[in-house]
Symmetry: C2
Subunit: 346 residues, 2 copies
């Protein structure tokens, strides 16, 4: 935990030792604000505390602010969701006793918020049985402080990452979130003008595109604007075969701005090749150069792929650019670390 | 629906028109066995009927058989799961009324099974309110036939595909299921002997491998055994550059056996290249050949990728084969249709 806080430079986090049950861990967290022996320095008592589960990583700011406002007014508040399945009670013999009318009940989710004094008092009055077998904070506030929590409708993204399938879903959601925007950087050279125009146009139907057509080194402030917009995908179109030096400048800039710290960045090197005759080929040096570069940048959490747009017939350029755009989208969406350094051909 | 039944050759399926609510649809399904006007030919009345949701596609045979056996004994039975969240009742003002003790309740899932006479009688006695607003079949059996259903613990894979994240999870689970086994077919030639041995060995740490080292055309019965084992991944190691004709035979065989009907098959063409000198290169014809072939086979739901194992230094062969195995695993796991016809290099 402390490693994570250090790595990502969090400044206002205090870590408190957990207990053997959920309620005991929360109680430990509350004590930091009220009891001297639980922290090296007593933290200032807050008006409202928010309780959340780490297994609900996709919580939105909106619902947090809603439960906090409701807690200020009602003393306690929690997010709820409709039930997905009917809830039933079983008898001792393992048979159905009765089923609940689904519309009358809700699933209690997180986050929840409380006036500090209310939830702290509730935990102080708790029995050991509550602390060992209970799970619901709203229940404690009701039982010990007569506080009927306000229930706030939450969104579907409050779901709990519980099973293996939830890890799959979480991975896909994160990849989806990272695939919302791409920055296409095109070298100013005249030979690239057409591709520099066609490629962003073709991508636009699938993703938000920022197209920049100036030389990279002169473009620091423009790029920095894009970086601060949390763009995790870059396409560099160049006429020099695999302009590693220029790309290195971009990699350095991304690294300086801490962009690849949290999530992997995809960087696709696009090269347009119009063979003079039919004897087009890819040499071993090209392959080795990209692979070596990709292996190095992967250590910085930047995934580099090569893409060759080869076009014998200018009339087919649009079609080739479209298939290049499809490959770019596939690379961005998959972010597959095994395929780095490969050279795809459109 | 009828298109699906036809496409996949189902023989014993009768489609019944759905109703405007869940209960009305199920009732329509039951009527086929009891009322003449609901089917062109009255179907024979079964002892037990199973009710299931299409949104729970990963149901295992085991739980189906368990609920059927329990229904035979108890008249009704249904799968249950532990509650993931606490269930609460809200008061009219949107505040917490009370919360249920989580351990005493269960989520009612599907499949459920019933003696036909019991569930049919329950539906016949149903009120319009039940049919329009109810959702729980076990509840109807209890209310109208005094049958307390036996509750059977289900597994986590009974979950309901409800939200977008569930589609992501379902896709990953299917891909995972398809990536359990690979068949490596190596041409008998001596030049390939080493790779034909090393590659399956390297893959074995990650996936179940069937290695065959005879020429494809002489190997029908052996391959058919593998096909009947539901293998969806094939690696063909050849010394002829992209032995399209031999591969076409494999494609034809897969097609004849209906393997790619339900799920896409991955077919990776591996070529070992030991350049005489350093002037190794990939020519345009190679790229065009694989791409064209891949586009054709994609229509048959077979995804073809090319993989070149290039090895200047025999001492580095093991390392190169390992990186080829990593690429093969990535292609198998992703089954990305956009990357077909690409030539990867290990």
């Amino acid at each position: 935990m402390k490693t994570i806080i250090e790595k990502y430079g969090h400044k206002r986090v205090t870590v408190v030792e957990g207990g053997i049950t959920r309620h005991r861990s929360i109680f430990n967290g509350l004590k930091v604000f009220a009891e001297n022996e639980f922290s090296s320095h007593l933290l200032q008592k807050p008006e409202v505390v928010i309780i959340h589960d780490a297994v609900r990583p996709f919580v939105e700011e909106d619902i947090v602010s809603k439960v906090v406002m409701a807690a200020k007014e009602h003393g306690a508040a929690g997010a709820i969701r409709p039930l997905v399945s009917t809830v039933i009670a079983s008898a001792a013999d393992g048979c159905l006793d009765h089923s609940l009318e689904r519309a009358r009940y809700r699933a209690s989710e997180m986050p929840q918020a409380f006036l500090f004094d209310i939830i702290y008092e509730a935990y102080q009055q708790c029995t050991d049985y509550d602390l060992d077998y209970g799970t619901e904070c709203l229940h404690l506030a009701l039982k010990y402080c007569k506080t009927n929590a306000k229930l706030v409708e939450g969104t579907a993204d409050l779901w709990k990452v519980t099973y293996k399938r939830d890890l799959y879903a979480a991975e896909s959601i994160i990849k989806d979130n990272l695939s919302q925007q791409v920055c296409v950087i095109t070298n100013v050279k005249e030979t690239l003008a057409q591709v520099g125009f066609l490629l962003p146009e073709s991508l636009k139907s699938q993703i938000k595109v920022e197209a920049i057509s100036i030389s990279l080194s002169k473009n620091d402030s423009c790029l920095q604007n894009i970086f601060s917009g949390q763009c995790y995908n870059f396409v560099c179109v160049n006429d020099k075969r695999w302009a590693i030096q220029e790309t290195q400048e971009l990699v350095d800039m991304l690294e300086k701005l801490n962009i690849p710290l949290l999530c992997p960045v995809v960087l696709i090197l696009v090269h347009l090749d119009i063979p003079e005759n039919n004897s087009f080929s890819i040499g071993m040096e090209d392959l080795t150069t990209i692979k070596k570069f990709a292996r190095e940048t992967k250590k910085k959490n930047i995934l580099v792929y090569g893409l060759l747009i080869q076009c014998k017939d200018p009339l087919l350029l649009q079609e080739t650019v479209n298939s290049a755009a499809a490959l770019i989208m596939a690379l961005i969406k998959d972010r597959n670390p095994e395929l780095i350094g490969q050279l795809l051909v459109a």
